[in-house]
């Protein structure tokens, strides 16, 4: 029991340390390709430390939701990470909760995020919240179909991530197959939409008319803003972890001799690979109009559906 507890703490500490790094790498790659020097890779760590020290300005028209929302957002994301093992050696409560719980824990956090955007009554917050809800309702079906297909196709018969990883580790090189290719394409669109990246939302600007995520957290400052930013980067890491461990299943099976450090290094390498791909997608695309986002969502949905079909309908 104590052992499992230590594993759990280790996993949480690991993801807390890695999450801001992902943002830093994406920003660095973007600035390098655009021939800028750019902020250092560790910039988000500095930002977070500074924000935690700062005072807060809280609108007097806001209610308790405004104060509770950052904590709820952060805690739901951390809780979701309990069910997403980063390396198979680390314990996870796989038998209590599975992928569906993860998806809806994230949805709960998002619900409070949108509420907090509406709470202060500023126009930007409301606009951001309604846009966020629209995007999430469009992208959720494809995420669920992707996860169900993964659960079915990994021969695990379970939607728990631990079981999916183990099933995929048995597949080995067989992961490069039509099902997984289609699901991977869908998953990249899902990551981009969920983490407010460029074709859907622009993470780097505060341009009023285009922002979605930034509009919702516009009223926050100090510690609460830090919690929101940290939560967002952790959520991004969850989706990247799922993609990395499912579609690059190398080192997913537990080998006791290797210890713990080597699998963690493999995990970090996989995360960096996915991060680089996301950065390259982000550079090569332009921001879509909001009313073009359904096109992208429909594409993700149909790719996930075709992935499901090519595995379980076409093959029969």
């Amino acid at each position: 029991m104590l052992n499992r507890f230590i594993d759990l703490v280790l996993q949480i500490v690991l993801v807390l340390l890695v999450a801001p790094l992902v943002n830093g790498i994406i920003r660095k790659i973007k600035s390098t390709i655009q021939h800028r020097k750019g902020a250092p890779v560790l910039q988000l760590y500095f930002d977070l430390i500074k924000l935690f020290k700062k005072n807060m300005v809280i609108s007097q028209h806001s209610s308790w939701i405004f104060i509770a929302a950052p904590y709820i957002y952060f805690i739901t994301v951390i809780t979701a990470f309990i069910f997403v093992p980063v390396v198979p050696q680390l314990f996870s409560f796989g038998f209590i909760g599975d992928a569906i719980l993860v998806v809806y824990l994230l949805a709960l956090g998002r619900f409070f995020l949108t509420l907090s955007g509406l709470d202060t009554g500023s126009t930007f917050g409301g606009m951001g919240s309604s846009r966020e809800m629209m995007i999430s309702s469009l992208i959720e079906p494809s995420l669920i179909i992707t996860i169900f297909t993964l659960g079915l196709s990994s021969k695990a018969g379970s939607t728990a991530f631990q079981a999916i990883y183990e099933g995929n580790a048995k597949l080995g090189i067989g992961v490069i197959s039509p099902i997984y290719l289609l699901l991977l394409a869908a998953m990249f669109i899902i990551i981009i939409a969920e983490t407010a990246r460029i074709p859907v939302d622009d993470p780097s600007t505060h341009l009023e008319l285009t922002m979605v995520h930034e509009a919702m957290i516009l009223e926050y400052s100090g510690r609460y803003l830090a919690l929101m930013e940290y939560g967002a980067s952790l959520k991004q890491l969850i989706l990247i972890t799922i993609t990395a461990n499912v579609f690059l299943p190398f080192g997913n099976s537990v080998i006791p001799e290797l210890g713990l450090v080597f699998p963690i290094l493999i995990y970090l390498a996989k995360v960096i690979v996915i991060t680089v791909i996301i950065a390259i997608i982000e550079i090569n695309t332009v921001k879509l109009r909001l009313f073009s986002v359904p096109n992208l969502a429909a594409l993700a949905f149909i790719l996930a559906l075709l992935g499901f079909m090519s595995g379980f309908v076409f093959g029969r």
Binding site: P178, L181, L182, S292, N295, A298, M309, S310, F314, G315
Partner: protein, 222 residues
Amino acid sequence: MDKLAPLLNIFSVGILISTFSLVASKRIMSYIKAFRIQSLILAAVAAIFSIYYLVEENRLEGIFIIFLLTVVFKVIYIPSMLKRISVRVEYKVEKDFFINIPISIIICCGLVILTWYVVSKIPELNNGYNGSFMVQSVSVILIGLFFMISRKKAIGQIIGFLVLENGTFLTAILLTSGMPMIVEFGIFFDLLTAVLIMGIFVFRINETFEHIDLNKLRNLRG
């Protein structure tokens, strides 16, 4: 040949994904980019076959020339020509559709299912080697056709025609593992002249009517 089946399957899925991303986009530049990627994957399929013949049977088949032609024309020449045309006619984004994009993506998914249904009824195609990627390659033909009829502007329709042709090409290559040279050349130069003529047409339409909306060609103009 059976050894190649998983590899070809992956590449044909890649072509299907690029076709879907084509249907989801509405900028001329993204049309051209998607078409270029699709042709690149098609060239890779041809390259796989030619390498297979070279290694296993130690002969250089005609399909190698097809690989070169695909790279030169479909990956380099035709996309850059289309780019030139789109710059000349100053026309960047498709604005109105007969069917809007999300519904047309769903219709394309329906076309894939239809193809699967038809292919699964043909017993000769269900021998393990062919059946799996026949669905993908034939549905690319149907989606190309659908793309042609769902876009109003001339460049979109040219791209639809090219995708349709890529689909036929893929189907032919996968089914016969390399057609006779003369047939391939016939198809290729047919396509090339068609695209050249259509490109000139787009210029002429643009000059005469000041737009390239084919829907408006029904009106007479003296």
